[in-house]
């Protein structure tokens, strides 16, 4: 036992090492500088789980592949839209975002509900007792990863679709320009799609803090995003159809992908994203309150 004592104290380095460790990390560091450490911790936490990388890869691949599939079915000669005959090829190319946002929701749930399922949340809140900052740190990391994966997915989707569309005959002869981010509306749809993904990620984070359990969290986010378009398609009253599409977070957020016939939309591109942002803010507020008020 004497050997254990000696070894223990040597390894701990005794009081001198303790002072060193503390002065290195505590001395002269005001409380507000703790947030970067917490973000670093949350980043380390997520990157050291293999599942994180699988989810991110799935988000990129599905966004790209579904965009390619959606555009490969288009034919410039057989317009599905009304006159003047024109396909919104940008929106079609970004169809994969509809599925990408489900994968992003899974990432957010993985980051929060995984902690509750394994009990890691208690270690997290013991190391970082400021719960508001924990919420912010997690939002920064999940938001950053989502933005990166979203940008990669949206970029790859547009690049693939550009190639597919040209081979389908969507060229100058049929009145279409090749997809390019140099076009203002296309750039807005692309950036907006990435923002939509980030907002869905944060919306899910808020719900996950509230619900804690994976199944409950995925259920509530899917309901929130996809129930309003389903109800809109079932509704007989055109006023209600319009309202459900205008104020449902799912369809409103994706309105930012439109590049044609903007005057006929239920809600404009940026106001639509604003509706989604409002839902996200509310979810984070409620989730944050639950996190701060409840026992861990």
């Amino acid at each position: 036992m004497a050997a254990t004592d000696a070894r223990t104290l040597r390894a701990l380095g005794g009081p001198a090492a303790r002072d060193r460790a503390r002065s290195a990390a505590e001395a002269g560091r005001p409380a507000r500088e703790r947030l970067p450490y917490m973000v670093h911790a949350e980043w380390t936490k997520l990157r050291t789980l293999p599942t994180t990388w699988l989810i991110l890869a799935a988000a990129v691949l599905l966004t790209t592949a579904i965009g390619a599939a959606a555009t490969s079915g288009l034919d410039p000669g057989h317009c599905r839209g009304t006159e003047p005959c024109a396909e919104d090829i940008v929106k079609q190319s970004l169809t994969g975002v509809l599925v990408g946002q489900v994968v992003v929701a899974i990432l957010a749930i993985h980051a929060v509900c995984g902690e509750y399922a394994t009990g890691t949340i208690r270690t997290t809140l013991t190391a970082m007792p400021d719960r508001v900052r924990v919420l912010v740190a997690k939002a920064v990391v999940v938001g950053g990863l989502t933005a990166a994966a979203g940008a990669a997915g949206v970029g790859a989707a547009l690049g693939t679709a550009r190639f597919v569309l040209l081979s389908q005959g969507f060229d100058h002869a049929h009145g279409y320009a090749a997809l390019t981010l140099a076009d203002g509306a296309t750039a807005r749809a692309a950036v907006g799609s990435v923002l939509n993904l980030v907002l869905v990620g944060w919306l899910t984070l808020g719900l996950a803090w509230l619900v804690r359990d994976s199944a409950g969290a995925i259920g509530s986010v899917l309901g929130l995003l996809y129930l309003s378009p389903v109800l809109a398609s079932l509704a007989n009253d055109p006023t209600w159809q319009h309202r459900l599409r205008k104020y449902g977070p799912g369809p409103a957020g994706l309105s930012v992908q439109n590049t044609l016939r903007l005057d006929r939309l239920d809600i404009g591109p940026w106001p639509g994203l604003g509706v989604l942002a409002a839902y996200t803010g509310a979810a984070l507020l409620v989730g944050g309150l639950a996190l701060c008020r409840r026992d861990a």
């Binding site: 701990l12 005794g14 290195a24 450490y37 270690t123």
Partner: protein, 316 residues
């Protein structure tokens, strides 16, 4: 810096049951304070309130005069082992320590140092899901000691450990206290704290049963009894009970006497010509002392049950 753990009038209710019912005690630096009681006595709940995980309904749970939630760099102030199984099974042991180190700006070097200290250097690069219970306990201890804190809270640290691991933890607890740290360690078995605790806080059903030093507790349980070793048991019993002593046979050649000081026992045996090989103060074991305390607690428990309290579920 003050590193005393202070629990005062602490109360916590979960639904119908009172998990902690007006508990008060203090754990001081330089000592191992044992926190003992049967399962469901409110030990883990008290620890969670000390760590700011659960909020008390009433009372205070402070460390160095401060609430845990107000600590800016908690890993440097308080080390805690709550539930060793609470590690993500897909994360490597070393990575678990790494994110904790990053939360306080500690270098990676510290992670490897602490892994070696707890004997997990080899296993650190394996996923925690494959760890044995003993390895998880060691990882939990590593988490607690990562920031080299002056206060340590261990909830049932020897649960599921092999004898070598138990010995290691005991040595560690002693070393930490000898180094001037405040060590609060809970257990549902008094025997686990034998030889390691200096002070004991005994709880039952969320209430304080006893708050005393190990020495005082043993003395009380020993209660001035004298142990006698003799080959002439019958003669010895006759001689000692004749002088007013209360004698109990504890073995074929062993007796305990109460009501007579040891000098008087020696004088009596000598004057009656009874042979004896040993007369000593009887030393109760911690387990005996605990049995005595919990016997009272059993009565208390019966009263409490009559009072309509439901047993508190789900705590180990």
């Amino acid at each position: 810096m003050d590193t005393t753990i202070e629990v005062a009038g602490l109360r916590k209710r979960f639904g119908q049951s009172l998990a902690v019912d007006g508990l008060s005690f203090t754990a001081r630096p330089g000592q191992v304070t044992g926190f003992v009681g049967p399962n469901g006595a409110g030990k883990s709940t008290t620890m969670r309130m000390l760590l700011g995980l659960d909020s008390p309904d009433e009372g205070r749970a402070l460390i160095g005069g401060r609430a845990y939630r107000d600590l800016r760099t908690p890993l440097f102030e308080v080390g805690a082992l709550l539930d060793a199984a609470a590690v993500h099974p897909h994360r490597k042991g070393r990575d678990h320590l790494l994110w904790l180190a990053h939360s306080h700006g500690l270098p990676t070097r510290r992670v490897d140092e602490i892994l070696e200290l707890v004997g997990l250097s080899g296993a650190g690069r394996r996923r925690a899901g494959g760890y044995s219970l003993g390895m998880r306990q060691r990882l939990g201890i590593a988490v607690a000691m990562l920031g080299d804190p002056p206060v340590l809270l261990f909830d049932e640290p020897v649960n599921g450990l092999d004898p070598e691991g138990v010995r290691w933890i005991r040595g560690l607890l002693r070393a930490m206290a000898a180094d001037g740290r405040t060590v609060l360690v809970s257990s549902h078995l008094m025997s686990e704290l034998e030889d390691s605790a200096d002070h004991l806080v005994v709880v039952g059903r969320g209430r304080l049963i006893s708050d005393t030093s190990v020495a005082a507790l043993l003395e009380r349980a020993s209660d001035g009894r004298v142990a006698v070793r003799t080959t002439a048991r019958t003669q010895a019993i006759a001689a000692l009970s004749g002088a007013g002593g209360e004698v109990a046979a504890t073995g074929p050649d062993a007796l305990t006497v109460s009501g007579l000081p040891s000098e008087r026992v020696v004088a009596l045996l000598t004057s009656y010509g009874v042979p004896f090989s040993e007369v000593s103060a009887h030393r109760a074991t911690l387990e005996e002392a605990y049995m005595e305390l919990t016997r009272d607690a059993e009565e208390f428990r019966a009263v409490a049950a009559d009072g309509g309290f439901a047993p508190h579920p789900g705590e180990d």
